[in-house]
Point group: D2
Chain length 349, copies 4
């Protein structure tokens, strides 16, 4: 069925496996007349690129976005945009050992249970590589948001249990996109320590969208926060999504949590910019809780396709932590949701 | 647009406002030949009924479900099931004062911003009353899950900052659906204390689905966890959704968080029964963080439609805490998501 | 699945069986602020009402539309409009004889094959009564078209092989909505003659939408003509749909069929106002070919549920010809398609 | 919006322009484990290839289908199949003259009206070249139909007003897929004569699907005939769609048109294998009326983008008649609709 579609007005359809010929996306609903070229997509993809910084793998994935359709003389035409990214650095041999052994924390077992067949190379369709297509689509969405001066950014709040201090918003001087440079240093040290042990880490990322007009979101199911929750939870490693005060909201009383309204705006933003599923004009704030990368070299117990016990040690080239690469995917999904609802609102008023 | 639809194979479409003539739901995709009558719906709605226990309002909403279409001689026919619940206890007068004043924490401001017009009586479409339609639909979904012996239950883990002790699973002897009876007592005391102050509380609810077959969920966007996140976040007061280890996942290393696989199954269930967006056969576990009820009698600052500063004290008949009524809504949404994916999987294998 | 939905931006969802409690429709995507009351719906439903004229049945279906949700103080609010029409004149007893015998030309056999269970009373979900919900939805759509000065009308071109003369557009002085009054008289005579024989008739209806702006329709599948074809073919008795020159187009050469373009517009309208699936500003013209009513008192061969040969003579209260009642259904479906695409175009430019 | 999607369970999404880099399709919902390779797609595309026979253009479009994703070791995996067909023989220069002049009978004017920008080369997105993607998708659908022994074939019934004699079903000895070889000869002569005049022709094609099980189709809008009508009308040159008796149905009485039911099946097949929108087990029969190719060298009146009168003579390499190439597109669309409903029915029973 249509599980690889996302969005109703601005709809993306992704395809592709980690070690297949290519991955990519078809985008429907992009308005005509928008200036676009592969450079803007390349810039977005480069930010997600692996092989950078302390948390990343050494793989090189030269993600070159190829705009195959939907543009004419440098502008979108309103017809489907197809963006294709070839898979070039796929070393398939290194995955042969896991053809029949299920990696803990991965989709190997469940893809087999669902489909009865599975492209095991590099995780196939379940690979994080699929998110490059989302980032490309997000870059297109951002062009539309740009016209409305809507900006999106993300920050790393926590890695491996080490938190950025609340309220610190320094100019970022680290590879982890953390606004607390001192904390970032400790995060980096922890990453190196855990890497040495053949283990991995997770963390928390906050995504903020600014200048979003009031009125976006469609009750009662396509609420803006509901669509953001789905968008972010659909990213592989995400295990929790918060909006605004999120997990702190139940600790407050109604009086404390309500954002009282003054003549110049909301006094606080515990709502995360969304009331009853509709944007209120304040910053949209979401946080994702990212599990540690499941691919680790430390030996683990598992079984193979025949149910026989096995020990597995994932030796491939893997990240130690999905952050900060996942940050760009979160931004992309936020951009796609906001663009979808921005277009939908055009039909309301 | 189609914001009041949810689900693709098992699709519900809700309608209705708090103080309109009725609320209800059209259900498409319910298989034919299932025994159904209004009793099973009534039982489900009674569990969500207000006016019970310490946290609830004194309103009486005699929610009588009326099956208008889609059945014949006590069985579903495969055609759209329409269930209608009349609004009987709607005292509209008590809402006149808020016709032009925006209640903090509610959708008054945002509905106005979106639509330019708003049924202000009882919150209109944004009222929690809408969830009665979800509960009715959930009861229908559960009939299908019953055929597959899939069960769903929910428990209250926290109210007003008071937590049930982890691991305690007592036979429930309280009105709050809390598995820790001693904690429940303290929760009830806190509710009464906060009520006396004209304030309100939130909390945490855990929803567990058992006996779910492996293979449900459709990557890469209609992942089972992504659809659960949307389903639960679309419930009014929910501000965060966790799956499995959720917010604890980033505190663990990969080795700690991965559910190693033994010959008799997964050793742990940090995944919450979902790997790569597909169920793995273990219990599906989700948690929602519920904000305190925004309607409080304690005076708050706000503005009216003309932007003039106002003070508001919500005097209507309101719950102090959405828990445990919201628990039934969470169960219903979980049932709807699982039924949707159970049917979808029939097309795969 | 979602087979009772139609439209993407302006989406209708119908429910109900002929002899159930009620039939009706949920409408999503109706813009807010539109003046609406039950009178405008009643007027539309009255035009479709049976029991009028020579071709109709003697049943009285007092179709009272009840707007259950989606309005406030006489205006739409942007939330789902639910319209319910109670079934009042359902004489179920007269259908008991066909509980197990399949009526030729009806859906009895196929509903059984599909669902394994069937509400046989009055045709259940397959009854033409379902189209009352479409007419109500069409009346809502027309309110939006009115704001854009788009008008829709239909004419009867043929009944029982008797054709209105091409080009004659007289002021209609007959019950059959035929623009050729002399032909209409002959049609009426034929209807009476065939009625006396216990048989029935079909015919051709033309639907014209005027003042439709250029630019509506979404290639390559949701082309305006493709959506019109689906909309009209989804009406029970329709067996063919033409757009513009339709079945005459293959008789012409390209030079004859092409609508040459002059500085003041298209010279002809063989395209029926649609080029490459997008409206061109000319009148949208569609024609439907309607089969004769399958319910006839003349005895026919059939089988029962056990495969045993039976003779059937349908004695119920039935129309002799679906025209002119079906005309109003065609207009409604055209209005729904145009409204859907009018809203969709708002997202393009 | 999502106008380039078709189908709900088996969903295709096409992209691409005539003279862009490539055209293609993403297919969602294809069951896993089906043997597939590019050969089967190539065979289907070759049958649609231009440059063959008397009615075709001399262009060579070497349509090589490239399966980019969704397969593993020669089998489908259940994930999105992406098929890409590069555009190789696109001589863009020959279209420069029509950059600002609207070709009569084409979508030039309407694409401009809709989007305000248009890829004019070779018709861009509106080109019949887009149908190669449909044919590729249809070949995939047919693999699923094959497993159910459902076959689809098409025949040419009329070209340029010359009809195959009704009932003649000879072994085809002509390039036009006409079952009446003598008529085909006259059609070919007419094509040559009209070609010499710089003009073009249309015709009628019948599509028949055999061995379709009873029970496919989803009332009341996704009726099998409604979806077939949309599928076929979405093909560029189609101006009318008939099901079963089609335009002859209104000429018959109910007694004549009803397919009486004998113990060994339906006596006739005026219904075209569909009753009340659901297949009845008989052959599904549809006919399309195809307009003459609008690109003709005979000079025509038109206007340019500035509204100035122009004369146009389309000199490009064009077919004289869309038949028989369009036949393969019709078969493909029929296959896609049937596969979609075959999968949908799995959720019903």
């Amino acid at each position: 069925m249509s599980g690889s579609n996302f969005g109703k007005a601005f709809q993306i359809t992704t395809y592709g496996e980690s070690h297949g010929k290519a991955i990519g996306v078809v985008i429907q609903g992009c308005p005509p007349g928008i200036d676009i070229d592969e450079t803007v997509l390349q810039t977005a993809l480069d930010k997600r690129k692996p092989g950078q910084g302390v948390s990343g793998t050494k793989r090189k994935e030269p993600d070159h976005p190829n705009i195959v359709s939907g543009t004419f003389e440098g502008k979108t035409t309103g017809t489907p945009l197809m963006i294709l990214i070839e898979n070039k650095d796929a070393k398939s041999k290194s995955y042969d050992s896991i053809a029949f052994v299920f990696r803990p924390g991965h989709g190997d077992y469940t893809y087999d249970a669902k489909y009865g067949i599975r492209d095991y190379k590099g995780g196939g369709r379940a690979s994080a590589r699929e998110t490059a297509a989302r980032v490309a689509a997000g870059a297109v969405a951002q062009l539309i948001l740009d016209q409305n001066r809507i900006t999106i950014e993300s920050h790393t709040l926590e890695i491996g249990g080490i938190c950025a201090e609340k309220g610190i918003k320094e100019s970022i001087q680290n590879d982890l996109e953390c606004p607390d440079n001192a904390a970032a240093k400790r995060m980096q040290e922890k990453i190196l320590a855990v890497k040495a042990l053949g283990d991995s880490l997770g963390g928390i990322v906050e995504i903020t969208a600014s200048n979003v007009p009031a009125g976006l979101g469609e009750p009662v199911f396509d609420k803006l926060d509901a669509d953001i929750a789905k968008a972010l939870m659909s990213i592989g490693a995400v295990k929790a999504v918060e909006i605004g005060a999120g997990i702190d909201a139940p600790k407050m009383t109604g009086y404390e949590n309500n954002d009282q309204i003054l003549t110049n705006g909301f006094e606080t933003n515990h709502s995360g910019g969304i009331l009853a599923g509709i944007s209120n004009g304040d910053d949209i704030i979401a946080r994702v809780h990212v599990k540690p990368i499941p691919s680790i070299s430390k030996p683990q117990n598992t079984i193979d396709k025949h149910g026989t016990a096995q020990t597995i040690s994932t030796e491939g080239r893997h990240d130690i932590c999905a952050i900060p690469r996942i940050n760009k995917v979160c931004e992309a999904m936020m951009a796609i949701v906001l663009t979808d609802h921005l277009l939908r609102q055009k039909m309301v008023r």
